[in-house]
Symmetry: C2
Subunit: 73 residues, 2 copies
């Protein structure tokens, strides 16, 4: 029931492949805006899209996306 937040390394993986947001978007079959919003952590993509990004960048899902650990002091 906990409200989950997550972080991602999509931008790093994309840049390592020498791709622009638009190129990655085209390869993944989505729009540039969708990739931009995911990189900015502003929303919650579908699994299919995550798997596409994983395949294109050559990174595993767990390398790309993870639950944000609550930084309690």
């Amino acid at each position: 029931m906990e409200e989950i937040e997550f972080e991602n390394r999509v931008k790093l993986a994309r840049v390592e492949k020498g791709l622009t947001q638009e190129e990655l978007a085209n390869l993944a079959g989505v729009t540039r805006q969708t990739i931009g919003l995911i990189e900015a952590g502003k929303y919650n993509p579908t699994l299919k899209l995550c798997l596409s990004i994983s395949q294109i960048t050559g990174k595993g899902l767990d390398e790309l996306f993870w639950i944000k650990k609550g930084l309690r002091i």
Copy 2:
């Protein structure tokens, strides 16, 4: 641009934890039907839900979900 299909091992992971669909659903904060449909491969969950299931079952995203390899002969 390729249309991606995927498979999952959610049911196995759930049963290994001794959970019913309803229990997993409650823990993940979704309905029983949503879990049932995911297990049946009938739809495409959001990343947040995948991460919840991953956390609850103690399995990595890559263990739970993968791209269906086209069985070309």
